[in-house]
Symmetry: C2
Subunit: 333 residues, 2 copies
């Protein structure tokens, strides 16, 4: 059995990382008691951490190790994207059962390395320990020009509410994986957003640098729960239209399954979680600039911010009702 | 059952923390996707993370909740102290079984708050999730004047090797707790270093600001293992004398127990771990300044750094033998 020190070198070799002294913003990487960072003038640091736990967030028997590695990094980085920050560094705390330190770990690290490369992250520290089940904790650091970080609290009445991409894809993938439908080749594409979520770093950066969005957050627990959080932080209300929500189209190949599973595209979009799309608000005067900045990204305008504190959903028949926060909550029964 | 959002507010109220916008180095605290930090000019940031896991690092049935809270923060901060950094901010990722979210959590948070207050830390972010057993991950950020961070790699042949405090105290406390001897009032003082470790922030800062130490680290896994790490990072060797190691004096009250437990003060000092004292090297020309900087702190000179790569121990009879790294390793069988 290898020691903790050997395990750390193995991890540091497998993912993009920086050993010892280095120039630029990283003064000292892995291998000491802590990393030392030298911030560039004109930038602020954005920092967040995210736990990813066996049995709660993933099932080791159902989810491939490389997806667990990829997703652990991607999830954490989504919080930086939501602030408009550019990811720079990460720390990885791994708690692993002994039987996960062999081939499983190699595959896990390959997934983590791919995410780190795609997202521009370098490993600068972490911790490894033995445990009964797999527990991951990722801390990410990024930077944003001073004063330009996007927050949840800047939305004002009259601002338009947007989301990127499609909502509910991750939930559909999760349901298929849980039901063992992931072996069917036709369905592989539907699993992608669940196993390897796409993180909206570029979009977040454009919304922030261009001073386009008044508020932003990532949709990690479901549109219903996260829109509630944004409006609460901004002390405003919202009205959104269900027919404007970019729901997932369920292909014929799973029509039967979807029906069996009771999967409803609108429900998945509202409460599904794990989409990691951006939810953001834009003052009407910035909409033209938003279109220019969006490029080919799919963006949907769901409705607008209101002065009251209520969050309302207009359904397909034109009826308005309160939107209930029924997204994912690890502590709800 | 309360939701994740309520749990987060409860945590943020219980420990020193910063909500929303703020001045100085903290631009945005808890309550958004991530924290935003504005580094002061002339400083570098030091960042580290530390996992603290039920069944591996502590036993929920044996260790008081407030000790678990205190120690989770203290352990992580010890890495900053070892770099000579002043602690500023922390992120706390809590994975908790549902039955730990009531009174246990209140006591845990009281311990964490006490450590954060003593160490000068404010909570700026984190994550909470449900889990089968208790898992904690603490990320700490501190700052050090540009270029003054203490590293493991600066030791040179001829430098003197020092440790702060006494070694083996934490191990003695652990053994007494494991054997249920913690109820005996006479022994309470002996448990303190195990339950509420003292972190050497002031000493680390003085060694760094005064440019006194050539290398430093904290002793978390035992002197034998950690001295090996320091010499390896500095590409040097070392010779230390067992009779100069500040071992713990076992009081009469536990003489019987200590004997029964097979506790040997020298063994506990060499391999016990969790003392969180500082191990550091000082060029001979700086020894006078070290004495001035140390004040009333107990410091012991164990020996010196050598040009070879061997790490040697001179025993009580004057025999020299290689020092084996037998400190704590979570992955050793």
């Amino acid at each position: 059995m290898e020691s903790e020190d050997l395990l750390i070198s193995r991890i540091a070799r497998a993912v993009p990382s920086a050993f010892g002294r280095s120039g630029g913003e990283l003064r000292l990487g892995i291998g000491d008691d802590a990393a030392v960072l030298r911030p560039s003038r004109g930038f602020e640091w954005v920092v967040s951490c995210d736990a990813f736990i066996e049995g709660i967030h993933f099932l080791a028997a159902k989810h491939p190790a490389d997806s667990i590695g990829y997703k652990s990094i991607a999830r954490a980085t989504s919080d930086l994207a939501a602030m408009g920050a550019v990811p720079s560094f990460f720390l990885m705390a791994l708690s692993l059962p002994r039987h996960r330190t062999g081939r499983w770990l190699d595959e896990f690290l390959a997934g983590a390395a791919r995410a780190a490369n795609e997202l521009g992250l370098r490993l600068v520290g972490g911790d490894t320990t033995q445990s009964e089940s797999i527990g991951l904790n990722i801390t990410v650091l990024g930077r944003v020009p001073t004063g330009l970080a996007l927050t949840r609290s800047g939305a004002r009445a009259g601002d338009l509410i947007y989301v990127s991409g499609e909502l509910g894809k991750a939930k559909l993938g999760l349901e298929l994986v849980l039901r063992g439908a992931d072996g069917r080749r036709k369905l592989a594409k539907l699993l992608e957003r669940h196993l390897y979520p796409r993180i909206r770093v570029d979009l977040g950066e454009r919304l922030s640098r261009g001073r386009i969005a008044s508020a932003a957050m990532d949709i990690s627990d479901g549109l219903s729960t996260d829109l509630m959080r944004l409006t609460r932080a901004s002390r405003v209300g919202a009205i959104i239209h269900s027919d404007r929500i970019p729901t997932v189209r369920i292909p014929k190949a799973v029509h039967g399954d979807a029906k069996d599973l009771g999967l409803n595209p609108l429900e998945m979009a509202l409460h599904g979680g794990e989409d990691y799309e951006l939810l953001f608000t834009v003052p009407p005067k910035n909409v033209k600039r938003l279109r220019a900045a969006a490029g080919s990204e799919r963006l949907s305008c769901l409705g607008e911010i209101t002065a009251g504190r209520r969050v309302l959903l207009v359904d397909g028949e034109g009826h308005t009702k309160p939107l209930m926060a029924r997204g994912w909550d690890p502590f709800r029964k």
